[in-house]
């Protein structure tokens, strides 16, 4: 045991430092020979005979070999020798090595980045234990496709009590409330949760404690738990908040805990416990949302089946709660949250997969070309007795070394790439729980890719080289371009060109989409307008007259600020209008057949957003006790219902509108006094819908938006506006003001921009890789044709003709590659069709541009080596062989 261990350690030591043992052995062998010669001379041999005999008896070379085997680890020694040889070979051709490593790094790096993002967003976005078993429940109207995700308490309890597929069930309702701190009022998003909520979510709090069932008791003190972000931005990350009471909305609540940063369920700032109570006056609205964790092994289908039975039973006793035909849908929460973003990310993954394929083709191609160029070396080594396995191993070590260098560089690239990508990720479609990083799985993927590519690239040329016929290999290198390997190389070039065309076409289509989205005329002077969202404190400003008074004073004082051209209050802002309601015309009562967008606004709204009047007049100013009786409509409204602006003036319409703050609605009649230009009102991608502007009438909702039109940069007005509002009433809260352009960017353009960015980066990288690939292959091919070119020129061909011969092959390959790529793109563009807007996936301009770019890049990559070959003096070229 001890002897064995001792030996192992010494062998390892000899492997690490072979020199001392080598010197010892040389000395020992020399002494051995001397002693033997001495002995032999004593027996009568001459010194010469003795020397020869001694060397014949002790075969020094063999002694050295076997001694090394015994004192060290022979396979390790071999590996080290292979490695040293590989390093020497690779550094002998720095250009090749650099290009190959760079190519691999680009491929591996981009795969790692995208895989990291996909892992963090799609596969494991939520930090809660067993989050894969969380489901949402919705009632879907099978006739209209609409439905509700809102569950009244009674239905919630039925689902909870009558089903047995759920391990736990939680109910929530989001709300906004105002938090009053000594120096300002903040708008917080509060989420009321059933008392089991934190227990079910299963993440421990960062500070203090979470809410438990005891907090729901009738006489329990009022408590709240803070989200990390709210704790940082509203409480200065002060650990002392735990145990203190604050005024959340109307109630004084004690903060009992702060959750860790990734705990962001329902985007809450604060969680407040609330038991399900059928007797509560608002039992219909709590809980609103229903989430459950399936029992291990229970499936979504089982849950749907059970809930549908329960809901059908309920629908018989409460027919008013359900649509005529409906079904209950159970949806995985992760699916629900990131589902929309899936398309974008999988497009990116497909793109990156293509990129990696191109990179692989490139390196395979370079290694193939190199293997051909090294035929003579391989043959000599084989002739000198290197076994086939030895040569193959040597080449695999070279491939591995390249791949690992590529992986290391790729990991570095990925590190930078993830940071960059995260900066461009749109906020909207991602849940707050998502945390990005170059995770372990991503690195494993990168390593697997690296090693498998090494095996792939290493083995093919290695097998070929090892199968070489010695005689043919020594006689000379194969000449000309034809031949087996030539065909493989050509196929790789064709593949590369095709793949890069596919990438470029995809990127081109997304670019066209993005450009058309950005170019959409929203109808609003977005870069001149400041958006200020106002929230009134609960219990105050409930009377419309009080609100009207507040806005009158606010608008008057804001309009008086320097650089303000106009200001108005409105409900709903472009590019989404207000709300939709039924419309009645000329005696026909309002019906679902005719719908219109309705937006309340003060009289200066059109001037503020830059909407010009087509016919008639602006909205009138309404006195405090006056009921609005007149309206202004948009062009689409006028042309849809009255055949044009002129026909609409003076007509009267009826709208179903909410009365006061209740949910009751009644018909109100209006007279059309003006028609204004269209503005997008159903989002940026849809054309304008009929739209009615109603004057003032502050009746609905607690939130209002103030729009301020600036003579310059609207951002400069943010602080003065905030101050004015605080002076009027310091209890009124506002969201941090945005310019209209920023709001558009954040909500509308972020996602298409992200798709475009990702694909564009990949397309450019792909094109660069193709350029490298085509260049290296053509440079190699041409260098082997140098003799042929020289002969042709010597025989009287003009340089142009010779060039034609060289470029002819390249052009043929290019044409085949482009045709193949275009055919492939017929299938691949289908993948991104859902992300296209206003752009056909067969858009000819994009196709022409993409083909042009690929062709130009490839031709330049061929032309450079060809021109160099033309410049060679025929005499030199012929003598060179």
């Amino acid at each position: 045991m001890i002897a064995g261990l001792r030996r192992f350690v010494l062998r390892l030591a000899n492997f690490i430092r072979p020199a001392p043992a080598d010197r010892q052995l040389e000395r020992e062998v020399a002494s051995h020979l001397v002693l033997m010669e001495e002995d032999l001379q004593r027996r009568g041999m001459t010194p010469e005979e003795a020397a020869v005999a001694a060397r014949r008896t002790l075969r020094v070379h063999e002694v050295r070999e076997r001694h090394r085997d015994a004192r060290s680890f022979v396979w390790l020694e071999d590996a080290r020798r292979d490695l040293r040889y590989a390093v020497r070979t690779l550094s002998a051709t720095p250009g090749f090595t650099l290009l190959a490593v760079l190519t691999l790094a680009l491929g591996i790096g981009s795969v790692t980045v995208i895989y990291s993002v996909i892992h963090d967003v799609l596969l494991d976005p939520l930090p809660y234990p067993d989050s894969g078993r969380f489901v949402n429940v919705r009632v879907r109207d099978t006739a209209s496709g609409g439905g509700r995700a809102v569950l009244p308490a009674a239905e919630f309890l039925d689902f909870q009590q009558q089903s047995d597929v759920f391990e736990d069930v939680i109910g929530t309702r989001g709300d906004s409330l105002l938090l009053k701190t000594p120096d300002r009022v903040e708008i917080l998003r509060a989420v009321h949760v059933t008392p089991n909520f934190f227990e079910v979510m299963g993440l421990p709090p960062l500070l203090g404690r979470a809410i438990g069932p005891a907090d729901a008791a009738h006489d329990a003190p009022l408590v709240a738990v803070l989200r990390h972000r709210a704790w940082v931005s509203y409480f200065g990350a002060d650990p002392g908040v735990v145990g203190r009471a604050y005024r959340f909305g109307e109630e004084l609540r004690t903060v009992v805990g702060v959750m860790p940063p990734r705990f962001t369920w329902h985007a809450a700032d604060v969680w407040i416990p609330r038991p399900v109570d059928l007797a509560a006056p608002d039992a219909v609205t709590f809980p609103r949302n229903f989430q459950a964790r399936l029992k291990p092994g229970a499936t979504i289908e089982q849950a749907e089946a059970q809930l549908n039975v329960i809901a059908a039973r309920r629908a018989r006793s409460h027919p008013d709660e359900y649509p005529e035909t409906f079904r209950i849908e159970v949806v995985n929460v992760i699916e629900d949250v990131v589902g929309d973003f899936r398309g974008v990310l999988y497009t990116a993954l497909a793109a990156v997969g293509l990129l990696l394929l191109i990179a692989c083709c490139n390196v395979a191609n370079m290694l193939l070309a190199r293997a051909t160029a090294r035929e003579r070396e391989m043959t000599i080594r084989a002739a000198l007795g290197a076994g086939r396995g030895r040569i193959v191993r040597q080449l695999i070590v070279e491939g591995l070394l390249l791949a690992l260098a590529g992986a290391a560089a790729g990991a570095l690239l990925a590190h930078v790439g993830v940071d960059l990508l995260v900066r461009f990720l749109p906020e909207g479609p991602l849940p707050g729980e998502v945390a990005f990083g170059l995770g372990g799985p991503a690195l494993v993927v990168s390593l697997v890719v690296a090693v498998s590519s090494a095996v792939l690239f290493g083995i093919a040329p290695a097998l070929y080289a090892a199968r070489r016929d010695l005689v043919q290999g020594l006689r000379g290198e194969g000449r000309g371009v034809a031949g087996g390997r030539g065909r493989l190389r050509n196929a790789l070039v064709v593949t590369e060109v095709a793949l890069s065309l596919v990438l470029l076409l995809g990127a081109g289509l997304l670019m066209r989409t993005f450009v058309s989205l950005v170019r959409v005329e929203t109808g609003v002077d977005a870069d001149r307008i400041l958006v200020v969202f106002v929230v009134f404190p609960p219990g105050e400003y409930e009377e419309p007259a009080a609100r009207r008074q507040f806005f009158d004073r606010a608008l008057e004082r804001i309009s008086a600020l320097p650089l303000v051209e106009a200001a108005s209050a409105t409900q709903g802002i472009p590019v989404f209008g207000g709300f939709r309601t039924e419309l009645g015309l000329a005696g026909d009562p309002p019906s679902r057949e005719r719908m219109s967008v309705v937006q309340w606004c003060t009289e200066d709204y059109f001037r503020t957003v830059g909407l010009t009047t087509v016919a008639g007049v602006h909205l009138p100013r309404i006195g405090p006790d006056e009921a609005p009786r007149t309206t202004v409509v948009n062009q689409t409204f006028a042309s849809t219902y009255f055949g044009g602006a002129a026909g609409a003036l003076g007509q009267s319409i009826e709208l179903l509108l909410p009365v006061g703050t209740s949910s009751e609605r009644k018909e109100v009649r209006f007279e059309i006094v003006g028609v204004v230009r269209d503005v997008r009102n159903q989002g940026i991608r849809e054309g304008p819908a009929p739209h009615v502007y109603l004057p003032d009438g502050m009746t609905v909702g607690a939130g209002r938006t103030i729009l301020v039109r600036a003579a310059g940069d609207p951002r400069m007005l943010a602080e003065p506006t905030r101050r004015v509002l605080a002076e009027i009433d310091s209890n009124v809260a506002i969201r941090p003001p945005d310019t209209f352009q920023e709001a558009l960017d954040r909500y509308i353009f972020a996602q298409p921009r992200f798709s475009l960015l990702v694909l564009a980066v990949f397309a450019i990288t792909g094109t660069v890789l193709v350029a490298i690939g085509v260049f290296s292959v053509m440079a190699y091919t041409v260098s082997r044709q140098t003799r042929e070119i020289a002969v042709r020129i010597a025989l009287g061909a003009s340089r142009r003709q010779a060039m034609g011969v060289v470029l002819g092959l390249a052009i043929r390959l290019l044409a085949v590659g482009i045709a193949a790529g275009w055919l492939a793109s017929l299938a691949t563009t289908r993948l991104i069709e859902a992300q296209l807007w206003n752009t056909s996936r067969h858009d000819p301009l994009t196709a022409v541009a993409a083909i042009g770019i690929v062709a130009a890049v490839a031709l330049v990559a061929c032309y450079l080596p060809a021109r160099r070959a033309m410049g060679v003096d025929p005499v030199v070229a012929l003598r060179h062989e």
Binding site: R6, R27, E28, H32, R66, A70
Partner: protein, 116 residues
């Protein structure tokens, strides 16, 4: 590699170790050539030992700590590495001898019974 001259055999690893340990134990410190020559002498006919194999045994035994090499002068004032058996080597020799005897006895018995 496999073209060993006929008559020369590769000894079993354990056998050569035993031979070397035993020789050093009886003869005292010896250098590699001395060992080879001594083995040649001992054998009735020229000993079929490949001297390269001897080095394998020497390095193995030295790494195991059973013998210890040191550079010294021969009687003819030549430089040579003398190997001596260590205490651990003597213990090992005892164990190996015991094992060898048992194995040899068994093989001998087999041979005596002969093919029946």
């Amino acid at each position: 590699m496999t073209s060993e001259p006929s008559g020369r055999v590769e000894l079993l690893q354990g056998t050569l170790d035993l031979i070397v340990l035993q020789s050093l134990a009886t003869m005292g410190p010896q250098h590699a050539y001395g060992l080879a020559a001594r083995l040649d002498q001992l054998a009735d006919h020229p000993f079929p030992l490949n001297q390269g194999t001897l080095y394998v045994a020497l390095v193995r035994l030295e790494q195991k700590g059973w013998i210890k090499g040191a550079w010294q002068r021969t009687e003819t004032n030549r430089d040579a590495k003398f190997y001596a058996i260590t205490a651990a080597g003597r213990c090992a020799l005892e164990r190996q001898t015991e094992r060898w005897r048992r194995l040899a006895g068994f093989v001998e018995k087999l041979l005596v019974e002969g093919p029946s």
